[in-house]
Symmetry: C2
Subunit: 365 residues, 2 copies
């Protein structure tokens, strides 16, 4: 394959393996797999999911929901607190597909009651410890009020309670991930039983996040799982311990445009508009924007932790290289890099190339 | 103007004022203003520059050069170490427009000697203290070798020496910016005189960076200036002291989708795929992804430093609000935010809206 500009490479075989593994886990647990498509935003990769039996998806915006409705998906959860300013688009979409929304404020529900034109399923967003969005799992009074508010409307149907345990991203071991999983499930189950006791509906439970969905085995107490990143995985997930290196299904290929011998640095064509600006902190406290991999003539080599992307500007990337790696590289070579955050990288790139050479769109723009 | 999704607003009057100020500075100094178009990547904003007399531009990739060649620009410097893997596109473009390239390695020059199909102007990239790319200003032997290598070829013409004093971004006062400016000019002048003494050409001097171009008054010793960010400015430039708050020509308008009273937080529709992930550190050591502004019925209000975007995920933004601000805001309101890094924000957004309501493209994709 001829590469002359920064290119996001995707190994379809690895992607299919990652999807299959999650599909099987969902089947074993008899839960619905509703993968989050914000990671790839691709109609083509959507097809691969469909071929492996996936029927329902999550997205993070109305725009993304429209995009996947157009490519044939008809059961879509917008896993983002409903933006009531988009009511026109929501009404249009809800007539085309089964659209599920997230609510956490009375204002939004009252607005929907007045303005929604078809019956719609709502999930109450619960904060089980991440503290980003949602009502805290132990604020029973507030959650009950929301549930009652929903039951006042004939158009609005309470589907259940939904959480994203994003604090799992602070984990560094499988044990830590499993602790968060256990705590999340227990908080959601306790809340569910209280809702049932109070005749507020037979609430379903939806949980998300790639770390717990990748590591935990038992999901028998929930109704659906919504991981997204697992389709590609990345360095962040590797650091969390939610994947192994050989499960990471993407690499950046970047041309080397200059070398600095004194600093053992390579300048690559590849910057923040390709990788995004997310980084991990390594054991020495350094910011890592990507690790380089060995050059294995055509095959994807293993990661080299002493050669890494140390800084990114808009289009420039600086690689701190080991002496051995530095000496192997010539200006005009292309290096392969494991990216830190697959979702943001795919979004800013907007497209990728399968290892077979075929280009695919990775953005709903 | 109806806003229902995260929107990058652009005040054309402020943009024109920023451009005019830089045009006048260049005229007073009798230097060529070759603005860097990577900040806006917009054919429309390009026109505004043209109307104010600008004739030559900088870009940061071949792709961007093609994009602006298509909209009529015919003197374009690709201010990025030449990526020799793009030789086909470079050859095509160099036949259409006056294309100027940056070199810093013998390998690139030898490659160009063999493969370039038209005569082309080259700038030697000099590192005057930023230590990202370029040959260090005091590595005279290495720079001479590069200059000689260029003079060996009939197709390659040495235009001069070019630097980007990106370390000016570490400044916090005008005095610090002016010190870097003085040092940069003195290093470039000393190098130029050595090149002249050694009959290596009457090298021109090109300097860049918005901080020094905004603050320094005297550019009489250089031949061209290449600032980019000044067209919009942003919080980073404000922190550096290279602009005033009322020169920042962009704001994000973001819908509020949830409120958390306990934490005095607003959840906004607006995340890393809108703002990018760049942040500044405030005086208390906090990461700031954007400051909120007062709501002044239609007019752009002033910045409120106790209400700010404290974290960003792919589509979510979390605003830490003062109690006063928090209480004024209702779910469904739209807040205005000063972004940290205009160039990356414009790139990820890909489009913006003039305050008059007209949408413009902000990306060469």
């Amino acid at each position: 394959m001829k590469i002359s500009v920064p290119t996001l490479l995707i190994d379809k075989k690895l992607v299919l393996k990652n999807i299959s593994k999650m599909v099987e886990k969902a089947e074993r647990n008899k839960v619905l797999l509703r993968p989050h498509f914000k990671t790839h935003q691709s109609a083509e990769i959507g097809k691969w999911f469909k071929e492996l039996g996936v029927k329902a998806i999550s997205v993070s915006s109305v725009r993304m929901a429209k995009c996947f409705a157009e490519s044939g998906w008809d059961d879509i959860t917008i896993a983002f607190p409903v933006n009531i300013l988009e009511i026109e688009e929501i009404n249009k979409l809800a007539k085309q597909v089964k659209l599920n929304l997230l609510v956490e404020t009375k204002e939004s529900i009252q607005f929907l009651q007045k303005n929604i034109e078809t019956s719609i399923d709502l999930w109450i967003k619960i904060d089980t410890g991440y503290h980003r969005t949602g009502i805290k799992w132990d604020k029973q009074k507030q959650i009950f009020e929301i549930a009652k508010e929903i039951s006042n409307s004939s158009q609005l149907n309470l589907m259940g309670i939904l959480t994203h345990a994003g604090h799992s991203y602070k984990s560094r071991t499988n044990t830590q991930i499993l602790e968060i999983h256990k705590e999340t499930i227990s908080r959601m189950l306790s809340l569910k039983s209280k809702l049932v006791e109070n005749n507020l509906g037979d609430a379903k439970i939806s949980v998300g996040d790639t770390p717990t969905a990748s590591i935990a085995k038992d999901f028998s107490d929930v109704d659906e799982i919504r991981p997204g990143n697992f389709v590609f995985y990345d360095l962040k997930q590797l650091q969390i311990s939610s994947c192994t290196e050989d499960e990471i299904a993407i690499r950046f290929a970047c041309p080397v445009v200059a070398k600095n011998e004194e600093r053992l640095e390579l300048v690559i064509d590849g910057g923040a508009i390709h990788f995004s600006k997310d980084f991990i902190i390594n054991e020495e406290g350094k910011q890592i924007f990507g690790y380089l991999t060995k050059m294995n003539e055509g095959k994807w080599g293993t990661m080299i932790t002493d050669s890494y992307v140390s800084s990114l500007n808009q289009e420039h990337g600086i690689v701190k290289a080991s002496e051995e790696y530095f000496n192997k590289i010539t200006v005009g070579d292309t290096v392969l890099i494991l990216p830190v955050h697959a979702c943001l990288a795919a979004n800013v790139m907007g497209k990728g190339k399968l290892t077979s050479g075929e280009e695919i769109k990775l953005n709903c723009r």
